[in-house]
């Protein structure tokens, strides 16, 4: 058998309260279910082996509710390779053919929903955007580091969302035109200036890669600072608002925490120059302080 699927769970607490007859029936049912499952897996594994080319995945497993998975472990999956197959494709194949409890977030399959940031062979990547053929085997797939694991590859995103929302992440201006059909003008240069910062898909790969964020839970982190950059540099918001944004960013757990290690920039799947944006905000903050000095 090519996978290490947990044995069927014996639920001891409920077993105590049911009749021996029912226990026996349940036991039979479980055995039958297990036989079917084993047969299915054997067939899938056989099929996988008969293909010329398979990829060996080692996938992190954990489920606080399932006794066999309470202690984190790695499962091996052998997935038949097709040209162009991504890490996400391979995970879906493994789930649909070997183990339906294999759990990971995913949706758009095209690097825009930001659901499937994973730790693949030791680096933060989007599963859908990572070609298997670019990876050494076995391909080790883990949940994002520095976040609590909910189950298998799913991590708790709440902290990331909290940081994103801590920077007043919405457009604010006092100079809106009066007419509901009158637009604010923006120069092409200014739109170009903020363009990269608007590409963030909230995947949290950057936050996961950041040593500072790992050590300081209150640090805003690269994504949130980038979100603030997106508005601070937008000329439509005006100078007053920029002051206010710089004040938020200058707080104890803001831009000055960054030690320019560039790990966020390296892992960003949308190629956003995060470290540069943080550095630029530091410079703006200094200029700003000099003005009042």
């Amino acid at each position: 058998m090519s996978t290490q699927v947990p044995e069927q769970v014996e639920d001891e607490s409920s077993a105590e309260s049911v009749s021996p007859g029912k226990q026996k029936r349940d036991q039979k049912k479980r055995e039958r279910a297990q036989r079917i499952q084993e047969q299915r897996e054997a067939e899938a594994a056989e099929k996988a082996r008969s293909e010329d080319d398979t990829y060996h995945l080692k996938v992190f497993r954990y489920d606080p509710e399932v006794p066999e998975k309470q202690e984190p472990r790695f499962d091996d999956f052998y997935v038949p390779y097709k040209q162009g197959m991504t890490v996400l494709d391979a995970l879906m194949w493994a789930r649909d053919h070997y183990d339906s409890s294999l759990t990971f977030r995913h949706s758009c399959r095209q690097a825009i929903c930001g659901s499937d940031a994973l730790f693949v062979n030791g680096s933060q990547r989007l599963g859908c955007k990572t070609q298997l053929s670019d990876l050494a085997e076995p391909v080790r797939i883990e949940p994002l580091p520095h976040a609590d694991v909910v189950k298998d590859l799913v991590v708790d995103m709440e902290h990331f969302y909290d940081q994103m929302e801590a920077v007043e992440p919405y457009f604010q201006t006092n100079s809106l035109p009066d007419g509901e059909l009158d637009e604010q003008r923006q120069t092409r240069e200014n739109r170009e200036k903020v363009k990269m910062s608007t590409r963030c898909i909230w995947c949290s790969a950057c936050m996961s890669s950041c040593n500072i964020a790992a050590g300081d839970n209150e640090y805003l982190g690269p994504a949130a600072i980038n979100k603030a950059y997106r508005f601070a540099m937008d000329e439509r918001e005006g100078e007053d608002m920029k002051q206010r944004r710089l004040e938020i960013l200058e707080q104890e757990h803001g831009v000055w925490r960054c030690q320019t290690q560039f790990s966020c920039t390296e892992v960003c799947p949308k190629d956003i120059p995060l470290t540069e944006h943080i550095q630029e905000l530091k410079r703006e903050a200094i200029k700003n302080n000099l003005k009042f000095w």
Binding site: A33, R95, R105, Q110, C113
Partner: protein, 615 residues
Amino acid sequence: MYEHDVIVVGAGGAGLRAAIAAHEEGADVAIVSKLHPVRSHTGAAEGGINAALREADSWEDHAYDTMKGSDYLADAPAAETLCKDSPKETIKLEHWGMAFSRDDDGRVSQRPFGGLSFPRTTYAGAETGHQLLHTMYEQLVKRGIKVYDEWHVTRLAVSDEERPEDRTCHGIVAYDVQTGKIEGFRARNGVILATGGLGQVYDHTTNAVANTGDGVAMAYRAGVPMEDMEFIQFHPTTLPSTGVLITEGVRGEGGILYNENGERFMFEYGYANNLGELASRDVVSRAELTEVNEGRGIEDEYVHLDMRHLGEERIIDRLENIIHLSEDFEGVNPLDAPMPVKPGQHYAMGGVETDENGETCITGLYAAGECACASVHGGNRLGGNALPELIVFGKRAGHHAAGKDMETAKITTGKVGDYEEAELESPVQLGEVGIGEDVVADGGAAADAGASASGADLVQRAVEDERETIDALLEKEDGIQHAEIRERVQKSMTRNVNVFREEEALKDALRDIREARELYQDVYVGDKSRTFNTDLLQTLETRNILDIAEGITLGALARNEFRGAHWRKEYQERRDEEWLKHTLLSWNDGEPELWYKPVILEGENKTYEPKVRSY
């Protein structure tokens, strides 16, 4: 039980706009969504937002293009509402800070799109949907609107009067994916469905894995008819290996389609002598597949889309995202080589029957965005008309549900007035398996809680029913897994109910769907955990896919004409004398009923007389 004035189901463009609108009207509103808002598939929209913003343009021209594009199956009051409201809603996004591409004078940029008489597609690079989604979510955060994210809504709590038109929606039942908890959400004023697309009915689609048509299926089983389901848009330029979308903007900016012989077939084989690559999407998709079927496709599968002549500078300025998509998902750098493209399922013109205010025939139940059918798009949606639909009708539904006075709708919903019963021909039984029996996997028939039951009682009763259903699915120890059922349906739909449709194939699809329905009776969930159980989630979604696949196929079989995206081998003409009408399918407690209602071609100042649709 949670309680709010207005509950919005889904957090894409339409859901977010609806929630903001309800909030503007002072309602206590909450969003319940199986994905966090920024994960919604609105983010994948690339091309742009059609809006008549310029002096030389007018909403009337936009409406004319939309009616023509619809092949005269859109209802004029809905299409005109879209075109009239789009400019101010688009500028509203600008006022909310959306990062539109800009002209030299600092105004928002617009570009040509298929089927448009004026370049009115307002865009933000080739990532307009991403910019729109994030801008709107920012506004949600600003207003502090409550979001229950990663809660999958499984059924509506609707009263159980005999006629759907007499029923009232009091709330929803949802399943918390993180913890496995099943809870009721009471909606004091209304529920707005904004669940987006249904592309997962097919196996080659631009849609996300989450686009399983949940809202359409839920409303259908609660009594709201599905309208014009046979009209599925196949986008002409998707990447062959994954279905990833290549925006129409590529052709809008001047991209050219070639067959294997290097011929510009849109002109050389006369598919669209005037507009060529910029003909309406249905026209281009059929042209591509005809090329492939006649042996002029590349690797018998696809054609080439070439944009190299536009030059690197222009491509990076306006279509940069396309370079990344083509490289990452097809391994082709479009600056060096043409991109392989083929048609893929992209959009459902049909959906939950609503009027132009977003209301359904069930009191207190609304729908907006792709899941709704007002109908704005009729037989075929124009590129650039989906995003304005989200913001225009999302807003109207939000206002309406929050109690704002709306102008009386001209479109009727439910079986009222001038409707006509249809003969339903099917080689197999349709609808619920084992009708009348106690069905374990039932996904939400009207809750029976007695005539005097309060709204809260109804919601509570629906919660109990859902708990029973889900417990049964989790307790079942063996059987068939959803992935197998889903794959069968997807393959059959792509084989039999695709761009080209023939009677026998449609009947085959109905047989396959029936078989899948029977298999679903034996479905079981392998993962027994209550924590983040995506196995269970997908099993529930698969039920929705079954109902929707049947609706699409039945509509396609009934409509024996060729209109818009619906092509029939046996009927090669549009038949206006018989078919200026919408197909509607009612669940009818498990025994589907097909009926028709006339299309409304009378607009505010003019009637849109059907003309030959040539491009």
